[in-house]
């Protein structure tokens, strides 16, 4: 089974149903399954006409109908997609385009400013297509989604790729600081979609609010939703989450715990005398009955509270390396506090308490990182880095982490070393540790006081200078990587015998600092 098969089945069965809805100046626009199918075919033929075969093609942009059509066109025609986080600083995006060997880039018009830089810094890139149906004053390299589509109209279709063919390279936070390109195949995606099955009527409304470059959103909102004949509605901004629920009136949504926590604040601020049905209509848009959540742990408290409004929350567990779902609570089998039962194509066992997984959704490896691949994939078992256990009914639980990653409730995994490495370049910083508390990051810094003395920086000025360094850093980072807290230490951190900072003792040690 391929993603192409899943989509083509739906195009045939649900031709006239809206596949995608989105807002343009507050007006709902729609794309039917039939139109979606035609556009995907034209785009993949256009790519072939442009000479893109088995090529790596990067995506930089937020969710849009153009993004998803182009993405499916890339992988359904045997090319390899590389979805990137468009919130990253442009030098990081350039680095990832080069590291993934991309020769083409689909770019959001909002990032048009990057065109010249890509042309200059990414010598392998032959084409950049802006994700818009507006006319683009093109040249040899710059073109538009529409121009590409027009090149493929009425062309003979491109043969489908094989199941074991690489489909996507998806970058994920590495524990050593450098992000790793997870290689996923056609089969990885398609079997994960098939394994996460729940019955809904075609035409059900899903509202997609997560970043589309993340596996959870891409596979479970889009591939899974489209395979079921859902109308997937695009949330244009997190600013409008609640407003858009009122406009689209979704039945099903995927959220990270942070969204559930934020919506709860809204529910809790309503006067208790207001009938629950009225609150539900106001906050969730009448129809919402199911939320699937993952990416971070959710307190069962919220499951109870949302139930009062007729909304069931099902928590699951996964990672990009598993395309992504490993286990999930489902309407027919769920237990609050657990992360559900392993899905049908994931075999789970424990090695020294660590959850390890085997199955058809497990990645091929990390792109051009044989060492990291060898550490993570051992004898066909993927080491998740999470510690857990299974209860007598087969429900999985997580109770710790093996690897050093900070997981925020927005589902973003933060590599502290990555940020520490960047900050440590400043001569005023001798040692730095990034920690995550109350859903935000804090920089704990032991300043280089010798350097400060040399430069005539007083003790009072040290904190001000460090805050400035952090403010500057924040300006270059997406919001989830912002450093919100700053602690200036008097003493160095406690180290182990190999001179590495003992992270687990940072807070304890600080009390005595």
């Amino acid at each position: 089974m391929l993603v192409r098969d899943l989509i083509e089945n739906s195009v045939e069965k649900y031709a006239e149903i809206p596949a995608v809805k989105w807002l343009e100046k507050k007006v709902i626009k729609e794309r039917s399954y039939k139109e979606l199918g035609e556009n995907i075919k034209a785009l993949r033929c256009g790519l072939k006409a442009e000479g893109f075969e088995d090529a790596h093609i990067a995506f930089i942009g937020a969710s849009s109908v153009y993004w998803i059509e182009s993405f499916i066109a890339v992988i359904s025609g045997g090319n390899v997609s590389v979805p990137l986080d468009f919130g990253l600083p442009k030098e990081d995006l350039i680095e990832l385009i080069n590291r993934s060997d991309a020769t083409g880039v689909f770019l959001s018009p909002k990032k048009k400013i990057m065109v010249e830089e890509i042309i200059k810094e990414c010598p392998k890139v032959k084409k950049i297509w802006l994700l818009t149906d507006d006319e683009v004053e093109g040249d040899k390299i710059l073109d538009s989604y529409t121009a590409l589509k027009n090149k493929g109209v009425n062309k003979e279709d491109v043969p489908a790729p094989k199941e074991d063919k690489l489909a996507t390279i998806m970058f994920t936070s590495g524990t050593t600081g450098k992000s790793k390109g997870v290689m996923l195949t056609q089969e990885n995606f398609a079997t994960n979609v098939e394994a996460v099955s729940y019955s809904r009527e075609p035409g059900m409304i899903m509202m997609s609010v997560l970043p589309i470059h993340h596996a959870f959103c891409l596979v479970m909102d889009w591939f899974n939703g489209l395979s079921k004949g859902a109308s997937v509605c695009i949330n244009d901004s997190l600013m409008h989450l609640v407003r858009n629920m009122g406009i689209y009136k979704p039945h099903v949504m995927l959220m990270v715990p942070l969204m559930i926590e934020t919506i709860y604040k809204k529910l809790a601020s309503v006067d208790a005398s207001v009938p629950k049905a009225a609150v539900k209509a106001n906050v969730f848009g009448e129809n919402l009955d199911t939320i699937f959540t993952g990416g971070a742990h959710l307190e069962p408290f919220y499951i109870e509270k949302f139930k009062e409004y007729g909304v069931d929350i099902y928590e699951g567990y996964g990672m990009s390396e598993c395309s992504p779902v490993i286990s999930a609570n489902m309407p027919e089998a769920h237990k609050a506090g657990s992360i559900g039962k392993p899905v049908s194509n994931a075999e789970v066992k424990f090695i020294d308490g660590e959850i390890v997984v085997r199955g058809t959704s497990v990645m091929l490896g990390y792109y051009n990182m044989p060492e990291e691949t060898k550490e993570t994939l051992v004898d066909g078992w993927l080491h998740t880095g999470d510690k857990g256990y299974m209860d007598e009914d087969g429900f999985l639980y997580i109770n710790g982490r093996v690897k050093n990653l900070i997981i925020l409730s927005n589902g973003e995994n933060i590599s502290p070393e990555e940020i520490e490495g960047k900050l440590a370049l400043n001569p005023l910083i001798s040692e730095v540790v990034i920690t995550g508390e109350n859903n935000a990051l804090t920089a704990r810094i032991f300043p280089d006081r010798d350097y400060a003395k040399l430069k005539g920086i007083s003790e009072e000025e040290i904190k001000i200078k460090l805050q400035k360094i952090i403010d500057e850093f924040n300006k270059t980072q997406p919001a989830y990587k912002h450093l919100v807290g700053l602690v200036v230490r008097n003493n160095p951190f406690i180290k182990n015998s190999t001179r590495k900072i003992k992270r687990q003792e940072v807070l304890v040690d600080e009390a005595m600092d």
Partner: protein
């Protein structure tokens, strides 16, 4: 109700700080305890309550109550 009062009451839905204790210098994340999503959600409420349209890009440079209030007043005038 004045715009500023209404504005601070919206903030109070996301923060433990009371409207009367809020000052222009207070930062949303650090002093008011907003999460990144609280902030986005707050901006959406400003749009609905004051009939203005905010661009995420403009709002990205807003850190304090004073800055948000200035941006909002500017958009209301427009």
């Amino acid at each position: 109700m004045s715009n500023e009062k209404k504005f601070k009451e919206i903030i109070a839905q996301y923060s433990k700080v009371k409207p009367e204790e809020m000052t222009d210098e207070m930062r949303f994340r650090e002093d008011l305890g907003f999460t990144s999503l609280d902030f986005m959600s707050f901006l959406g409420e400003l749009e609905d309550s004051f009939d203005i349209e905010l661009e995420e890009e403009n709002a990205a440079s807003v850190y304090t109550i004073g800055e948000a209030l200035d941006l909002m007043n500017k958009l209301i005038e427009e």
